[in-house]
């Protein structure tokens, strides 16, 4: 479904990605792990068209989307819940969600909203509240829900557990699992690698802009080297 070939990306003159290849099949939940600064966010920003200075190919459902604008990529079926959530803090929860469906026909809006309110009852409760007044966990749900408003075929998630209390992390992860089970493919970027691998089908380990390992999640979890380098604090693997 998603095929990335030889992706390189730059910030100014500094190269952040040195030719990476990633494949993701329909309905898969794939995780991209790696330490801080490895290039995970850069990869997602490249896929969504936010980052322009790059080379290589990005194919989605056989279509070359390498040079599409963010709007067209969204319309092709890829949505991102970015690192740091990027909530519109002075817009209400409902307006934030409406922004998520900005590229979609207006008559589908009410249905999509109802769907999201069913999936995230807390957002329905807070629908008239400003996005900036939500708690961290609620904002993360809003970011995910806003991405889902575009009814993506592929959902990209950048560190959805960042800054959340352990309880909330569990909630968010089981939610991701459910979204995937309901048929949306997911590319999950995480620093909380053990947790990510515990729900993923396959994983890629990114290291200073290169793919170091690509394995099934189970074998990455049992790989001692991966455990040492990336799973340190979570080595005792308390999954969901």
């Amino acid at each position: 479904m998603l095929e990335i070939r030889g992706l390189r990306a730059w910030y100014g003159n500094v190269q952040a990605l040195h030719g990476i290849d990633i494949n993701l099949k329909k309905r898969e939940l794939v995780t991209l792990i790696g330490s801080n600064g490895a290039g995970k966010s850069t990869t997602l920003k490249s896929i969504t068209g936010l980052l322009k200075k790059r080379s290589g190919h990005i194919l989605f459902e056989g279509e070359d989307i390498s040079f599409y604008s963010p709007a067209r990529i969204l319309q092709a079926g890829i949505a991102l819940a970015p690192e740091g959530r990027w909530i519109f803090s002075d817009l209400t929860v409902e307006e934030n969600l409406r922004m998520g469906a900005f590229t979609r026909p207006r008559d589908s809006l009410e249905g999509a909203l109802e769907e999201q309110f069913e999936l995230f009852p807390i957002l329905k409760e807070r629908r008239g509240q400003k996005g900036g007044t939500l708690s961290g966990g609620e904002q993360q749900m809003l970011a995910i829900s806003r991405a889902l408003m575009a009814r993506p075929k592929l959902l990209l998630l950048d560190e959805p557990s960042l800054g959340l209390a352990p309880m909330m992390v569990r909630t968010v992860f089981s939610l991701i699992k459910n979204i995937n089970a309901a048929g949306t493919s997911v590319l999950l970027v995480e620093q909380n690698s053990a947790m990510a691998l515990s729900i993923a089908d396959r994983g890629y380990v990114l290291s200073t802009g290169r793919i170091a390992l690509a394995e099934t999640a189970a074998s990455l979890l049992s790989d001692t080297k991966v455990r040492e380098v990336y799973l340190g604090g979570y080595a005792n693997g308390d999954g969901i």
Binding site: T48, L50, P70, A71, L74, Q75, L80, P82, E83, G84, R85, W86, I87, F88, S89, D90, L91, E95, R98, M99, G100, F102, T103, R106, G132, R146, A150
Partner: protein, 291 residues
């Protein structure tokens, strides 16, 4: 009663500031950059209207439409050449380029229209609304009402339409708006277009109010409106509008109670005090930390 009369003068002057201040808020809100050619957009709008009204002999309402259209075109052009190439970079280049525009546009209008101050063909004196000892002239009423309607229409647009939503979203988080599929180039152009339409209308209203059209008419107005926008909170349209009205009223009260020579000193002392104690302006919020 003198005080009410004074407040009306202040309101008229303040609504002219408000028209420009709202534009500064739109532009600064989305780009976090300032234009120094906004006063000349105001002035060009005024002269285009004067040309249409005096030169072509068309009614003032047509002049107003022409002022807004010409100002909008000019504003969108300025965005295209002075801001878009420098998006995301230093705000120094746009500042310098718009200062260049400001000087060049004044020179151009001076060459085309001459240096003499031009009057407005419709006197404001025929109509007067008198209540007790307070009287409001037709032109004062026009300035206040027209500004009020324009600001209300602007608010309606940014609160109720999907383009308005996109504009507000992009002002809060530019990249997030891009991520949502908003055409941010269009949105920035829209902000400049709307800001410039208000400025153009403001130019005509100013010229009609004071019966004076001249190439430098936008200079002091723009600086004061920028100050007023800062006073109210530069990244919020309602804050900037409130700041404009406040500045006008403060000025007129200073004239009444102290003397007209001191009005600028008093107005700007208040501005500086407000900014010392509340840097985001009276109604503004502190910028969110962006992660």
């Amino acid at each position: 009663m003198l005080i009410i009369q004074t407040l009306i003068y202040g309101l008229a002057q303040g609504s002219l500031y408000a028209l420009l201040a709202a534009g500064f808020a739109l532009i600064c809100g989305i780009l976090k950059m300032i234009t120094f050619a906004h006063g000349e957009v105001f002035m060009v709008g005024a002269f285009v209207a004067l040309g249409v009204i005096v030169g072509l002999g068309l009614p003032p309402a047509v002049g107003m439409a022409a002022a807004m259209a010409a100002a909008m075109a000019l504003g969108v052009f300025i965005e295209r050449v002075a801001f878009r190439p420098f998006r995301g970079g230093s705000s120094m280049s746009p500042a310098l380029i718009t200062i260049g525009f400001s000087i060049a546009l004044q020179a151009l209008v001076l060459l085309l229209a001459g240096a003499d101050t031009k009057p407005f063909p419709y006197g404001g004196g025929e109509f007067k609304l008198t209540v007790g000892s307070v009287s409001v002239s037709g032109i004062e009423l026009t300035v206040i009402l027209a500004s009020f309607i324009l600001v209300a229409l602007l608010q309606l647009f940014i609160r109720k339409t999907s383009w308005g939503l996109a504009l507000r979203a992009a002002s809060m988080h530019f990249d997030a708006a891009r991520l949502m599929g908003v055409n941010t180039n269009m949105t920035v152009a829209l902000a400049f277009g709307l800001a410039s339409m208000l400025a153009g209308a403001g130019g005509l209203l100013f010229g009609a109010y004071y019966g004076a059209f001249y190439p430098q008419m936008g200079v002091v107005m723009a600086f004061k409106a920028l100050a007023a926008a800062t006073l109210g909170g530069i990244t919020s349209v309602s804050g900037a509008v409130a700041g404009g009205i406040m500045l006008g009223v403060i000025e007129s009260l200073s004239v009444l109670f102290i003397s007209s020579g001191y009005k600028d000193i008093i107005a700007f002392s208040i501005l500086i005090l407000v900014l010392l104690f509340k840097p985001s302006g009276l109604l503004g919020r502190f910028e969110e930390e962006k992660v």
